[in-house]
Every structure is written in structure tokens, then in C-alpha cells.
Symmetry: C3
Subunit: 315 residues, 3 copies
């Protein structure tokens, strides 16, 4: 799709530039030939450094771009991106190369491995498992029955994923029209799961909008846990059952999240933080410690609060 | 099963009427040839209008029925209905008509489409998907791997359902004996999902006891969300991950439910209401607004409450 | 593996005893030929009664063992057990005996029944279901599509398990190194589901570390519910959607857990207890009653607390 065609497709001003655009990406990660966008003013400082060939943004911000970057004027860049994302969405299956299966790997008959996938040695891929196109799986991996791995994911060595878990499902992202309708932002990214990760049954790890959702080495995730798009879960973190991370939140290494705890999106949680069961995090945590409650507070304070409430109850 | 046989089966008084009963239904929706019931006094006002051929109810309420409707006397109508529901439960598979598959639709080899199902054009039905008997699916639908759609459901056009989600599983309904045992109310109804709905991974939408659970046009549902039986989710509503609706609750259009929020059953939530993350709704919401907390309150009040609690903590 | 080899494998002091060890077990349940361990001082009282042939424990506690029991000295017995558990972990498939299928049982083509499994009469095993090795299923059971039952489980008669549910997935158990890494405790036990149990869609029931996770007769479990390893759920209990039990908690009979309620691990909940929606239990409950809130209190007190908070808000 050329820039000219994109401008036409988005209904923005006519553009004569016929450079071929190969994909969409963030301002920070876009390379030559890609189109990017400014959907939130907090990313304005990245405009001057972008390598994108074109950027969708309000014309008033165009002066912040490096010379030579083509401007696609839009008053609602996020909506423009949503519309355009459908065009750049990868098909479910895009390869004609038969899957590469390593020595000693056992694949059950009703598992489905898409073309373009690669599976390492000594893996066990059980019945009902789906492995998407271009997904790469390491050695000594066990995928229990009915696990689904979407396309483009990268799974490390000695990873175990229990029954029914979905890796790489679409993140929950939409642009909203003035009429209250939601336009899907097709999810372009993937999930990376590093070595020695174990994930329980019926959990979900969404793929990134752009880039990667990352589960780092040695992380252990329980059953029915939700990891939103573009999250990064630090090394050796532990996420207990029914906990959840909203999109774009980063956990440092060795964070412990208790059962049914959760975080809002776009937060950063300090390494070695412990979140008690049922705690709800709405602000980033800079200092490691033990936290409880919703709104979140230091666990010591939470205990003090409960003591005060108990006293109030007696009065 | 004739009325005479039903009376015998339920152990109620002998009935000589041998009219054939074709199904069970609510007082409001029953048609001629169906049997209905009065299990809650709040439905008494519907007795006089019912088109049912017979009604299970305490004899003392029989005078409220239209002339000609046969009375099956029961002191525990809900228990009688539970027992009888097993008899009228539809089999998992009831059709000998090979599934009808539209042009351009791609069905993966390990998907299972029951007889009597119909799938529209240009759909992708991925590996491990199950489509139940008499279920009808529109055009341009994507069912990701290991999705299960039970029998009799209706899925609109351009619907996307992510990996592992179950649509039409039995609602959670039982009649309870005095000994504390639970008698299953077999679920007779279905799920209707309208056009342009997207549902995330490993979510669950239960079928209705009678009638339909309805997800209206343009609704977006995240991962690990629970929708109970007979719920109605209004147009363009958004349900974030790990939220849940108990049975028979109705959301108006453009309701937003934050992560891990939930509602009790049999409630009505005003259109354009926003429920913050972790909020818990126990009463119907008449006025749109932003609500938080459990018990639920206006978000402004919740912030005030937190400020007061913080002050109490300092004292 | 002989004791001598185990000592070598764990790096404990050399042992000349070459008795063959057949498995690991708890102090209480170990039989001759098995190895056990003391990982928590609260089990010290069981040392004197153990039938284990060898016990991993700190040498300082060895004097509490019956004569003839071999001591494997370890300062970190739980870590030693984790390392050794991998050795004794059962393979996914260990039988050459074709599955035994009862009369009248219908198995869909894409279901996978492992060797060594037994399925009773008149069952329906739907598409995408996995039944593990040595698992035994009773009569008149329905396993809906994409249910996974791991190895060694025992499922009673007239059990219904809805789509996507995982039974027998590994419990969430790790020993932690001083560097913050987690060493998996391979789960040796199973799940027992008694007669007339119904489990909803996309729920998870973990297998026991040793012994059994038990769901007793007539229990009804909703969708997206988590049952941790070694839990016992009493007869006719009801667990509403999105509730969760952490490991080793025991519910008495006829316990009701509301939606999104949860318990910590190693608790005991009195029979006929009702836990309101969203309640969180951190201590055992001795007296039956209705409880709410987190921290948990009698429901009456919780209502009083809410009234006081509402008053505080007005002031």
C-alpha cells in the first residue's frame, strides 16, 4: 500500500508520495518504510527521533518531525490507526513452508501446527494444541492439551503450558467513535515467553499491539491469570490464580502477585514487590515492599486500617 | 409426553387430560402445547395472560389462570420444573442434516461441526472448534482454536471469538431439596450474539434457562469474563477482563465494566453507565454515571470515602 | 532409584543402603519402600509414626524417627523434595493397555483417550476432550468439548464437565532458591470427583502434590472457578463463578461460595457456611453462618460496618 493509497483510504488530504509502506509501528520502533502515529501527547518527545517514513498526527504537531517524514494529517490519529491496522493485520496463516519439528518431539495427532512454525527437540505437543504460523518453540517444551499459541510467538526452552491456556490472543484495544462504537485496533505484535516459564491452566496472555508482550525467564503463572497486551513480567515473578495485569504494565523481577490481585494499565512495579491477595494497584510502585488493599497501601498500614475499622465497628 | 404422564412423573394429582406437551417455557413466552410454572410470586401477574396449555403451581393460585389452562398442583413448583426439565432437555445432537457451510468458509480438519448447524460465507473455523447442532453462524466470522459453541446458538456477522471461549454452556441453576441436594434445571435456551461482537479468550457465556442470553451489536468482551444465563448485554458495551455478570442481569447500551467488576443477578444497569475496576453492583442502576466500590457508590463518593479513610488512618 | 543413588543425586552424605525407592509421599501416607520428608515443623509429630523407608530432614530431627528409617540429612528438605520430585514424576503416558470403553459410550473422533484409561457405560466424550493415562471415568458422564482430564484422575457417575475445563493440572508448588529462582515440585497426586458433580466451563481443578484433590458427591461448580491442589470440597457445596480456593483448603458439606469469593490455603470451612460474593477468607471458620467482606466478618457485622462507613461519609 503506497502512502498515496493510505491517505485516500483514511480520507486525509491528498498525497502524491507513492512510497510503499510495509507496516505500522510505534514512533520509537518504526523503521524506514513504516508508518507511525501520535495518539497521545506524552509521546510527542519521540517525534523528533522517529525513523518512520510517515506519521499520522494533527497537522499542528507536524513541525516536531524530522525533515523528510511525510505527514498524514488526522484530528483523531488513534481512530486513523485503528482503521489502517485492519489493512496491515497479518493473515492467520501466511506461510507455505511446512512446520519444522525437532528430533524427539512428539506431536499428538489432533494437534495443529501451522506452516511456518518451528518446534525444537524433545517437546511434547499434546492433543488439541494449536501452534500458529511463524511461531517458534524451543526445546523440552510441554504444551498440555488444548493450548492455543497464536502466530509469531516465541517460546523458550523448558517452558510448560497447562491445558486450555491461550498465548497471543488479541489485546483489548479499540478506538471509539462519537456514536459510541468501537473500531478494533488489529494487534500487530506477539508474545515472547523466555526459558523455564510455567503457565497454569486456562490463563490468557495477549499479544502486543506493536512489539512484544514478554514473560521473562523463570516466571511462574498459576491458573486463570490474565496478562494484557504489551505487559512485561520480570524474571522469576510469581502470579497466583485469578490475578490480572491490564495492558502495558511492567513488573520488575521477583514480583509476587497474590490470588485475585490486579494492576491497572501502564504501570511499573518495583522488583521484589509483593502484592497481597486481592490487592489492586492503580499507581506505579517505586519502592519494593509488601502492599495490600484497594486502594493499595503498605501492608502494615492496611493492617492498621483494619484495626481502626474494627474499633469503629465496636463503637 | 402427555399431561397425564407428566402428572404421573411429577407425582402430582392424577390428570385425565392426554394432550401432548411439546416443551416448557416461562408464563410470558409459553405457547399452546407448552407447560409453564409459577416459581416466584413476582410473576403472578403473568398468570392471567399465559398461553401455556398447563401450569405447575400451588393449587391456591389456580384461580388466577385463564379458563381452560390445566393446573398441575405443586407445593414446590421450582423443584417440579427441575425434575421435568430433564425430560425436555434437548439431546446434544438431534439432526440428520449435514451441516451447511457457506462459500469461502475455511474449516480446519479437527474442528467438529454437528449436523443441523449452518455456517455462513467467508468464515474461519479453526482447529479444535466445536459448533453444536442447530447453531447458526453468520458471515465473516472467526472462531479461534478450541472455541466451543453449544447447540441452538445464533452468531451474527463479523463476530470474532478468541481461543478457548465457551458459548452456550449450561447456566448455573438448581432446585434445592430439604436434604441440601441440588437438582439440575436443564437449560432449554440459547445464546444470541449479534453482529460485530468480539469476545476474548477463555471467557464463558451461558445459555438461557428459557429464551436467550443476548450479546447485542458491537459489544466487546475481554478475556476470562463470565456472562450468566439470561443476561442481556446492550449494544457497544465493553466488559474488561475477569469481570462477571450473574444471571438475568441486563446492561443498557454502552455500559463499561472495568476489570474484575461484577454484578449480582436480576439487575438492570442504565445505558452509558461506567463501573470502575473491582466494583460490585448489588442493586439496579437507574441513572447513568461512574460508579465504584463494593458496596457500590458514585465514584465521587468513593473518592471522598477513601480520603476519609486515609484521614482516619493518620489519626 | 536406590537410596544410595538418591543421596548422591541430592548431594547429601554418602549412604551405603541400596534399597530401591519406589516413590515419594507424605509422612502420614508413605508406605514401605517410599521416601518422605519433613518440610514444616508442624508435621514433626508424624515422624514417629511414619512407615516411610527413608526421610529427608535436618539431622537434628532424626532422633524422632522410628528405628530403621534411613535419614537423608538436608538443611532445606523442601528444596531436596522439589529436586527429587522431578525424578519420580510420572510420564504423561505410561501404559500399553488400550483404553477400556464401556457399552453405549460415544467418543467423538477428535477426542484423545490415552492408553490405560477406563471409561464407563453410556458416557459422551465430546470433540477435543483429552483423557489421561490411568484415569478412570464412571457411567453416564458427559465431558463437553475441549475438556482436559490429566492422568490418574477418578471421575464418578453422572458427572458433567463443561467446555474447556481442566481437571488435574499441576498444582502451583515451588521451592525457592536464595537467588529467587523457583524449583518445581512435580505433582504426584490426582483429582477425585465423586458422583453427581457438575463443573462449569473453563474452570480448573489442580491435582494434589501427594494424595488427592477431592470434589465430593453432588458438588456444583460454576464457570471460571479455581480449585487449588489438595483441596477437599464437601458434599453438595456450591461454588459460584470466578470463586477460588487456594491449596489444601477443606470445605465442609453444603458450603456456598458466592461469585468472586476466595479462600487462602490450608483452611477449614465449617459445613453449611455461606460466603457472600467477593468475600475473602484468611482464617478457618469453625461456626457455620453467613460471612462477608475482606477481611471476613459475619454478614450482620459487615452490614453494620457499611452503615457506619456511610455515616462517616455524610459527616
Amino acid at each position: 500500500m503506497t502512502l498515496q493509497e493510505i491517505a485516500l483510504y483514511l480520507g486525509s488530504e491528498e498525497i502524491t508520495n507513492t512510497i510503499e509502506i510495509t507496516g505500522m509501528n510505534t514512533l520509537k520502533n518504526a523503521v524506514e518504510g513504516e508508518i507511525s502515529f501520535l495518539s497521545d501527547s506524552k509521546y510527542e518527545k519521540e517525534l523528533s527521533q522517529t525513523k518512520a517514513s510517515a506519521v499520522i498526527l494533527p497537522a499542528s504537531k507536524a513541525y516536531l518531525l524530522p525533515e523528510g517524514v511525510v505527514v498524514l494529517n488526522s484530528d483523531e490519529p488513534y481512530m486513523s490507526v485503528a482503521h489502517l491496522s485492519k489493512y496491515f493485520a497479518k493473515p492467520i496463516q501466511s506461510s507455505e513452508i511446512a512446520p519444522l519439528i525437532g528430533e524427539g518431539t512428539h506431536i499428538y495427532p489432533s494437534a495443529h501446527i501451522e506452516n511456518g512454525a518451528k518446534i525444537g527437540t524433545n517437546c511434547t505437543i499434546m492433543s488439541g494444541v494449536y501452534v500458529g504460523s511463524e511461531t517458534v518453540i524451543g526445546d523440552d517444551v510441554i504444551l498440555y492439551p488444548n493450548v492455543t499459541i497464536y502466530r509469531d510467538c516465541i517460546i523458550g526452552n523448558r517452558v510448560m503450558i497447562h491445558a486450555g491456556t491461550a498465548i497471543g490472543s488479541d489485546g483489548f484495544g479499540y478506538a471509539h467513535t462519537k456514536m459510541g462504537e468501537h473500531v478494533k485496533l488489529y494487534q500487530n505484535g506477539n508474545v515472547i515467553i523466555e526459558d523455564d516459564v510455567e503457565i497454569g491452566a486456562n490463563s490468557t496472555v495477549d499479544c502486543a499491539v506493536f512489539g512484544s508482550t514478554i514473560i521473562k525467564q523463570g516466571v511462574k503463572i498459576d491458573n486463570l491469570v490474565q496478562i494484557g497486551h504489551n505487559c512485561i513480567v520480570g524474571e522469576h515473578s510469581i502470579l497466583v490464580s485469578q490475578s490480572g495485569l491490564a495492558g502495558s504494565t511492567t513488573l520488575g523481577r521477583n514480583v509476587v502477585m497474590g490470588g485475585q490481585s490486579a494492576t491497572a494499565g501502564h504501570l511499573s512495579i518495583a522488583p521484589f514487590t509483593t502484592l497481597a491477595a486481592r490487592s489492586g494497584v492503580t499507581k506505579s510502585i517505586v519502592n519494593k515492599g509488601v502492599y495490600s488493599g484497594f486502594p493499595l497501601m503498605e501492608h502494615k498500614l492496611w493492617l492498621k486500617m483494619q484495626a481502626k475499622l474494627a474499633k469503629m465497628l465496636e463503637s
